[in-house]
Symmetry: C2
Amino acid sequence: MKLINQQPSISDVAEQAGVSTATVSRVLSGHPHVSDSLRDKVNGVARALGYRPNRVARNLRTQRTQLIGLIVSDIQNPFYTSMVRAVEDVAYQQQYSLLLCNSDEDPEKEQFYIEFMRDERVAGVIASPTSEATTSLQALHEAGIPVVAIDRRSSSTPVDTVMLDHEKAAFELTQHLVSFGHQRIGAIVGNMQTTSGAERMKGFLNAMRGAGLTPDPELIRQIKPNEKEGYQAALSLLSQAAPPTALFTGNNLISMGALKAIQTKQLRIPDDISIAGHDDLPWMTLIQPALTVAAQPIYEMGRQATELLMARIQGDTEPVHELRLQPSMMIRQSCGPALGRRNGVHKA
Amino acid sequence: MKLINQQPSISDVAEQAGVSTATVSRVLSGHPHVSDSLRDKVNGVARALGYRPNRVARNLRTQRTQLIGLIVSDIQNPFYTSMVRAVEDVAYQQQYSLLLCNSDEDPEKEQFYIEFMRDERVAGVIASPTSEATTSLQALHEAGIPVVAIDRRSSSTPVDTVMLDHEKAAFELTQHLVSFGHQRIGAIVGNMQTTSGAERMKGFLNAMRGAGLTPDPELIRQIKPNEKEGYQAALSLLSQAAPPTALFTGNNLISMGALKAIQTKQLRIPDDISIAGHDDLPWMTLIQPALTVAAQPIYEMGRQATELLMARIQGDTEPVHELRLQPSMMIRQSCGPALGRRNGVHKA
DNA sequence: GTGAAAGCGCTAACAG
DNA sequence: CTGTTAGCGCTTTCAC
């Protein structure tokens, strides 16, 4: 009796069809030199048996897989979600599938997954490293597994990289705020260990200094880039004796937290407080007033990263690329001259 | 000379350490009966060589993998994103990784991925089928690969299932709307082929009839559950000669689209139009007024599904489970008695 | 406690 | 055009 969960192997098909396993293999992988009669026969038997090739065996034999490893720091961040989507689209076209990992900004978890991917001999990896210093990518690279860094750089490993021009985005956002006369601008950004965090901070500081303003360290917060910490940071900023009149937020989660803090403090945007952030999400035009942001071409970044990776997988040996995509400023109504709060304070 | 991308194999380690491959294997998989001296030696050599076991080979030999396949219909839907997160958390704990696929509500794509998973001999699959009639899951099941359906049922295959009590959620939401005196309630829900779509519609209709109201077919729209179609459906509903005074939306993407349509039509919530939807997302309290919804315990659903799956992978043969989790009503300010529009119309 | 050897399912020379 | 054969890297009896 046939065991229920026993899947037929290539030799079962060969036997049934009265041919060798080599012939079956040739038919199934679309090899050209097979007679039509045998081809039909093999196909028929394979279908009848419900045969499906064992990819684990094939992968072992060919020393290749059709798996792309994707490491993001937080799958719940819509920014990464869109990226996953882009990567998946391109990968699917080429019949690759995605091994998805959430590093959670935790180097240990990142390390585990990178090793897992190496052990699984994935064809390539796209990663958004938790830190520029992440060394495990080096191991992948040395093992001959192509890697492309996305959104953040891995300074320790010379790999293809695709990123937003973070500094420019931050610079323009800050300039926009400054143009309304703001001088006390609070900045909430992610860790300096990540490329995006560091470069955004740099853009912010440059824009401030360029406008002849001296950034106040009291108004700068470096946090884990999530809603909760964004909320807390914004709340503490807004609760100071001399609160900022405008807020610069380092990503969409931080913006969300900051907006909730503004809600908690019952401040009006932009009269009491202006706010400008990163990433453009559908809900941002739903709120009143709509949020001004620097939009990232996320899908495009994911697409290009995947295409770069695919080329490497196919053996491309060109020198390392570093792609910088440009932000688009989405000027809406969340920024304006400081009025209410200042007036309120003066009146009080 | 050693090739750059040649990873050392177990026999390299064995040779260097002067032992058999069997011993190396025993040491590396933590097998008990090995002398301490050999164990140390093997570990030392392995580390020195930067050896990493080839999981493809191991998987072939053991006929098992540490891969969980996860099929969702749209990774950009925050609902699924949270689910992915939950699944990943539990899987990671048990050292499993995720093979992620986006079916895009496209049965063909779903089919491709299911076959890929079968070919890769994943340990188990968690899926949100594009249709209750999806038959490919049957193939997995027959091949001895445990499957658990989430959010939606697969009527063709007897597998563990974890879902929201969709009908109840829809029923309560509708009742809430009815309690404000609404009679013309527009409903925008996903395809009837999915469990969630069908059951939500059922809950809606039951609540209407229970209140002595006759659902108007003109006010019901079945769409692909995304923002764009949600927008179009809502817009067409609101542009009718006799528009609804309240909207019932079938998921968060549809709610988003509907809110944008309301914005386009410059209607006031809830005076001109009330709205109640599904899923609770951070931005929903940021908009003015905050949206009333039935929240799903998404993380919990993902967690339980994964635990059910893990049990099956470990050989659990209990009868099939069907878990129904309860929604929580988040009553906020987006529903109220119809005023403005009706008045406006009467005045005109 | 350790090694020799078989074999998981497949593909790719190499013959014929 | 087709079959024979070796072997990918690993685990696991089976002997010793």
